[in-house]
């Protein structure tokens, strides 16, 4: 029954998307190839051997600026217009830079080592800001313990930190 229904459906209907979803890839490919064949037979084509496309060595350039490497048209001399003088330096160095590959690092104001040092402490201080109160207290205790350890070397009795526990109110 299904086979009969398929053969009676028109080709256009079969080409529609919702019909194609059910098809498997092979039948799809077949359909495509058939379509291509139909198209190519109808198309007219030249019965002439293909000419090799030569790479044209001719570029059409209508502006003089490129041909003669002309300078930027806006100029100022002896400090008449300082902004334009800055521009002049920029524009004219741009032309030279294109030829030379600028590979040097910018001289940094701050050296790499200092940056690393700052970052270390920076992360710590900002991290502390976002700690919850309990964690802050823990941090404080740790710091004080550390101090105490260092002091041992200079012969100071380590003081006992009273642990904060819940004290029952004395009746």
């Amino acid at each position: 029954m299904a086979g009969e229904v398929k053969s009676k459906l028109s080709k256009n209907l079969l080409r529609m998307k919702f019909m194609q979803r059910g098809l498997d890839s092979q039948t799809k490919k077949q359909l495509e190839e058939e379509e291509k064949k139909i198209i190519s037979e109808e198309h007219w084509y030249l019965d002439v051997p293909d000419l090799k496309e030569k790479e044209s060595c001719i570029i059409e350039e209508r502006s003089f600026v490129r041909c003669e490497d002309l300078v930027y048209g806006r100029m100022s001399f002896k400090g008449f217009n300082p902004e334009i003088e800055k521009l002049m330096i920029q524009m004219n160095s741009k032309c030279k830079e294109e030829e030379i590959e600028v590979d040097d690092k910018m001289e940094a104001d701050v050296s790499d080592e200092e940056m690393a040092r700052r970052y270390e402490t920076l992360v710590g201080t900002i991290g502390k800001k976002f700690l919850r109160k309990r964690d802050q207290r823990v941090l404080k205790d740790d710091d004080e313990d550390d101090e105490v350890d260092e002091d041992r070397n200079s012969n100071i009795i380590p003081r006992k930190k009273a642990k904060k526990i819940f004290l029952k109110p004395q009746d």
């Binding site: 209508r62 806006r74 100029m75 100022s76």
Partner: protein, 168 residues
Amino acid sequence: QYVPVKGDHVIGIVTAKAGDVFKLDVGGSEPASLSYLAFEGATKRNRPNVQVGDLIYGQFLVANKDMEPEMVCIDSSGKSSGMGIIGQDGFLFKVSLGLIRKLLAPKCEIIQELSQLYPFELVLGMNGRIWVKAKTVQQTLIIVNILEASEYMTAEQRRQALAKLSGN
């Protein structure tokens, strides 16, 4: 006669204001159009203050023989880089296109020698128009005359003329 070319920097004179677009005379066969949004920092609310008769230094965005040329005063990265309305005072005059080519050459003697004289500002448009501004009217006119005459003077004559002037 100047033929507009894409990317060329030229000096244009505003001839008409048609709504959102200015018509500029660039010395070509057609007036060029310039949109008011083609300036640095221009928005619909913040319009550039351009009047009829103003001088504008800009570059061509579109310039082919089939269409009306279009200009902009902004470069591809959105910066004005020296383009836009050319300020007050100064003197605009026309020279031949060949002289502009000479003047814009990388190491132009004429410009170098002139720059030794006194401070001034110079804008060269590829359409043959030059705008000069110096401190006094006299200085401006001297520069104009030298530029115009330098087309036909030899280098020697030019140096003589400049020597006379710098002596003054």
